[in-house]
Symmetry: C7
Subunit: 287 residues, 7 copies
């Protein structure tokens, strides 16, 4: 072994000093080439379709992403190799690094939204904040979740619109599909009605609606007098239903109450106003 | 001992200079391997289920977190090892560090929300701002606390919706379950009524409600004339109750007052308007 | 080869030490010249018209962009060359770099909006958030997409205005042209009407409208009693239509209902008010 | 002494060069151990209960804080020792420092809210902005101060809710318990009343209320005509009272005025409307 | 040539070592002088009036800008020269650079608005977002563009006010002068009218208006029943006109409809209210 | 002198090399001690009471500030000394500096509000934006200035509340105590009145009020018809008064106008409504 | 000259090595002294009163500014000198620079508002956005400009209040004193009036007002029917006037129209309501 070593030493000694940069430059270029090749095959493997059974990415997007990531890796490698080559020929690269750093900083600042979107998307999936088909409110809009992506979420509004929300915009999520929902109907009756009789009638209507519908989880129950309004006494009825059925139950209760009240002659009052007659200012009422 | 030392010295001397980088590289790789192994077992121990009796994390989340943390440690170690290897072969890594630093900065900025969530979560638990079952308002929504996590809190709204709030969004917390709550009922009576008699009646109703309910902590008491409205004198009744019973108490007081007023012939006034007759402009009132 | 090497060594040795800077300076200037030439041809190729079949850029903009990018490259190269030359004559450039860095930082911060616009624009196209001709809401305005650029999007409002929105301002997008849209008509009927008969008539109107129009995807169906208003019972009719036809369908349903109600003598109620006569305060009603 | 020195010199000379790193490593580990021990006892002393007579911290929080601070010190020390050991074996730590720096920066940014809370808390106590028992408004809520902590303040709302506010959210503070408070009552009288007589009566009522209550600091005085409303002349009464009694005084003034007006036959006017009769458009008034 | 070199070498050798700093200092000062002179002439040329035919800058502004830019260059050069001189006499300038850097950073942060304004201004002109004479909305105000500068835009409001908007404040631009504008008139008719006849009449009016005006691009057409209001049926008329003529067209349509309705005896309804008589509560209607 | 020098040289030569660190360490500790002592006496002098005649700080605050500043200086000195000592024993302190830097950065960011407050406070005093006793609006609240501090301002609201505003929150200041204030009274008269006569009467009232009050600086003058309301013609009266007297003057003008109008029989109109009788829809008016 | 040089060389050689630091320290102190003296005289000259004829600064402010700037320069110089002295005695100043840098950064961040104010102030003057005496709106307030400073602007509100606005808060400026202003009066007439006759009368009034006033630049002209209101047809009159006279012209037009309408018997309509009689629900109208 000592022979090999001494032979190697001789070879090294024979390299003239001015050739060292050339050898170094060659090494840098070879390394850069290897890094690019390796990264590209790594990216190909990382983004190959079989990893993503949970988060299905369509083929088109996969291709675009792959070529985008490869470009980023390639240009970063070019840049690092360039800096090293410049240093070999004795160019001071501090100024170049400063220029690149400032450019990069601007990109980094601009890209922080993207990072925030991805982190937020990770937590939406990790904490199971909502799933496809849930009815959720987030970022000021509401709709049924059609798609959860790593960068954005798509909600379908009742009106048919498609909301595309970057996940980073989603902070507080309100999920309407986790547990039973409340149906709430406010019934106004005139001050002249007998409250005990009204509530008896309403309880009967509640029993009737309950018997008709299977999607009611709890109630409906008559809560009591929730407001003494200017023209009416307000009584509130409450039920808990299977998610998304609350509005249908409310409509059914409203119709049943209206029809029963017609039958029982209980009045749902119009706005009322007491008027006091008086003649034009300062004069007697000569009528 | 001097012998060992001199023997060691000889060994070192015998290493040809060009072999030093190879030995260094081997050391770096062995070290990197050790760091990864050690960190992984450390993460396994840190996240093992028995530490978290207070903050129960479910098994699934634990596994995801474990593998996520291991990936982060593994890639950081790879990166540090890579930089050291590159320097061994004489590549200047300043440019690479700049590129990585800018990427890392973007990630760091994007991740600061996560850090804020965790710090905020720590203080929610540390200061006992609310517990599971409390009714709280925070970040613009309200509900009963179902779950307090280190990153997010889940509130169940009265309407049945589930609010998922990142802890970092929670700054001001309003807790409705710490101490007795106020029930407040405003009663309107006509200007024509005798105020002293009305207040006597109301006080009697208060005594009656008090005797019926055990969840009233204090009152109800008649506060006095709180407004001289356009058509009515407003009198306010106040009580303090066990948390979450305030609305039920308010409903009971309202019903009791309504029924007593019917009995006592005290009027809850409709809106009033005085009208002055006049004929079309500029002409006499010929009626 | 050894001859060439030794010859080369002799040449190097013969260079007097004070000439080294001059040679270095020449090298720097030549390199700078090469960099500028190469970058310019690279920019020319990058921006040549044939790459952009998907994202058509007009010729004028292309020219301006080309000369702008060339200026940036030229001035950065000048700056790096200058720093290297100054260092050759022994000037410390740390202070100059600090000054340039601060200036550059201000530019970088100011330019981050531009970066954000471009990243956002990339995702709009990559995720196919909307296409030309879609009717979308974004950044608080709405309109038909006329143009999607890498930095900004142009929407044509119904009113004829052209909205020019930097893509970075677009976070949440609401697209009205993906799937069927909802047409919703609220019909008020008097409390005195028979609800069952009214709903029968409305269902008949719905069938009739359906048969007349082919752009209705689903419905129209009578949903039920959605409000017990102060003067009216509100019944809601719902349909799903081809995008952008929802308003036309709503108008048609409204007209059909109005005409049918006239025929069937069903009243759409005016606001109602119950009035109670009373004389001026404290006095008897002498009428 | 020269002997000791030369002896020492000999010892040093005898250490073989390869042993220096081992000695350095041992020194680093011993130092790290000492730092941890010392810091822990320092933290124990710093947080021992006797320092905090003014700012009472409960025992539980103290323990959690102590162990938290110890962990932070321990891990920082580990990190510094690790970096030094790696450098001893020739590993370049710049890359590791970059990675740690970015992680630390994210933590630092996330923690700045905490720092702001503590600084803000310091100034609340230092400037005596409010004390326990004061009624204050801050950060959009109001309540009686129950607790002032170095990180957060707790307010008890009139409704019974407990507001927990991080001090950093408190910028503008409105303190209702520093000095006398204003009670303000607006009285409406009809345009037909004689203003001088009304004001005389009101001044008399003021004198009467003043004589009855000791918590009035100044007034009540009749300010004058503050509005010529559409149906009424508005006269304002003003008083200054002991803090938190202003509402009670207002109620008392209101009741006294109402009763006196009843006695004096001064009218508090209902809204008025002049109506002009006209027949359906375009036709004569045939009545 | 070898002679020149050796002669030069001798000269260099003869310079006593302590004189080197003096020579360096002189070089620095001469360089600084050159830089200032060159920059000033460069600035003079850059800002000379002939370059700016598109973006006319008035003479006064040009002079101020020139002297401002010269001052900036002069002081930066002074600062760099000073640092180099201090280093020559052995002063460590790191601390000075830190101080200057912090000051510069504050300036840089403060100046980023200016940079944003200029970048935004560039894109307004580059993307031709609006031109002088267009009627645009931006940054919450609207007006006719009077002047587009690189830092700010001036709009003349209809009211005569001049809005001066920094370009950086302009994100979303709404341009009213690109394409035809919509004129929209809503006509209310009584529920009692025959809808088919009303729409016939309206279509006739539309034809008539169309024939009279040449600035109408499309329509006017009767859209249909757009609302079933509480007292009226609302019918909408729509036209597209030359920019800025939409309001004039709307006024003309309104007048034409009013006059035609008068002729055709179609009623534009007043608000309606159904009143139901009732006597004071609980009593019979004795009238 | 050469003797002293050579003697000194001998002493230095005699110091064994391993003793140098010990001497250095001693020097560092002595310097640290001196710095602390000097800074403390400097802080004592700086904060001694006699400097602050303009900005009176109370004794308690002074003491707290003094001991706070001393702690800061002491801990910074400890830290610098520690770093130097660690370097003496060969510990690499880069990692420690990184850790401290990140901690310090978090503190620095958190403390920038404090800096902003002080700078803002400086300008409030320097530009004399308001003085104690002025009535100002700032940061959304209003009140009489009770105290201007370097960090915060205290306003006393008319309601008696004390607003404590950090100066950094004060950007736009509205000062009501610099120059004469406007008193503005709007008088409604019926459409039936003769406008010329009304304005004559009002001008007479103005003259009368003017003669009675000395705190009116200018006016009152009758401005003219400022609105043609739905039921009334609005005429505006304007005056300029001594600061804080504007409301009192307004009340006086209002009372004077009301009384004069009573005398002159000029009517302040109630809201008016023209009603058109019609029978229930579709039927004739059979009355 | 060679003699001088060799003599100088001898002097330098004779300086014992340990004396070099002392000489350096002396040099540093002397330099620091010179810098302070020079800067102070420079500041004195820079701020001497004669430069500021355009931007008059009062004497008091000048003095405060001068002494403030001198203090800043003095303390920065002390700091730089101190760092250099510490390095002379072998203290590592990296840690001190870190500490100072963090403190400075906090100051720098806090001071960026000040920088923004000054830059904004510069552009207000440079672009002549407004001058003293102009009536402008900015930062949410409006008033006549009383003073334009480099850091803040003072506006005098019509109400007499003085608004002090930091220039950095001023982004969008609305200047009411550049060009003619619009006077706009909306006249309501009854639906029953003949529109052509009304417009003729109004045009006559316009001619009359025009002839009376010289401050009208253009118009007044009758624009046409701008609204078909619920009870009235709205006709708009428009004029352009000299700045600040628009309100006076509007008042004059209003009065003239009112008086002319009285003469011509054209009615300005009261709000109208059609009422339909009906008896209590479900019963016949027995009247």
């Amino acid at each position: 072994m000592a022979d090999i070593i001494s032979a190697f030493n001789n070879v090294i000694k024979d390299i003239p000093p001015f050739a060292v940069p050339a050898i170094k430059a060659a090494t840098i270029l070879i390394l850069a080439f290897c890094v690019i090749k390796f990264s590209e095959s790594f990216i190909d493997r990382l983004l190959s379709i079989k990893h993503y059974d949970k988060l299905p990415v369509n083929e088109n997007k996969r291709k675009t992403l792959t070529s985008l990531l490869k470009s980023v890796v390639r240009y970063v490698t070019y840049f690092v190799a360039l800096i090293n080559l410049l240093q070999l020929v004795g160019i001071d690269t501090k100024s170049l690094l400063t220029a690149a750093g400032i450019g990069g900083l601007a990109v980094g600042f601009g890209a922080q939204n993207l990072v925030r979107d991805v982190i937020s998307g990770f937590f939406i999936i990790f904490e199971d904040q909502y799933g496809v088909g849930d009815y959720v409110e987030a970022a000021g809009v509401a709709g049924t979740v059609e798609d959860i992506g790593i960068r954005s979420t798509r909600l379908r509004d009742f009106g048919g619109q498609l909301h595309i929300i970057p996940n980073g915009e989603i902070t507080l999520v309100t999920n309407h599909s986790r547990g039973s929902m409340r149906a709430l109907v406010e019934i106004s009756v005139a001050y002249e009605e007998n409250l005990d009789r009204v509530m008896e009638v309403l309880e009967d209507v509640c029993r009737e609606v309950r018997s008709r519908r299977e999607d009611i989880v709890e109630g409906p129950t008559v809560l009591g007098v929730t407001n003494l309004g200017s023209s009416e006494v307000v009584i509130t009825i409450l039920a808990r239903t299977v998610p998304m059925q609350q509005w249908s139950v409310e409509r059914e209760i409203r119709k049943a109450v209206k029809e029963r009240f017609d039958k029982e002659n209980i009045e749902i009052p119009y706005p009322r106003m007491v008027y006091l007659k008086m003649d034009t200012k300062g004069e007697d009422d000569g009528s």
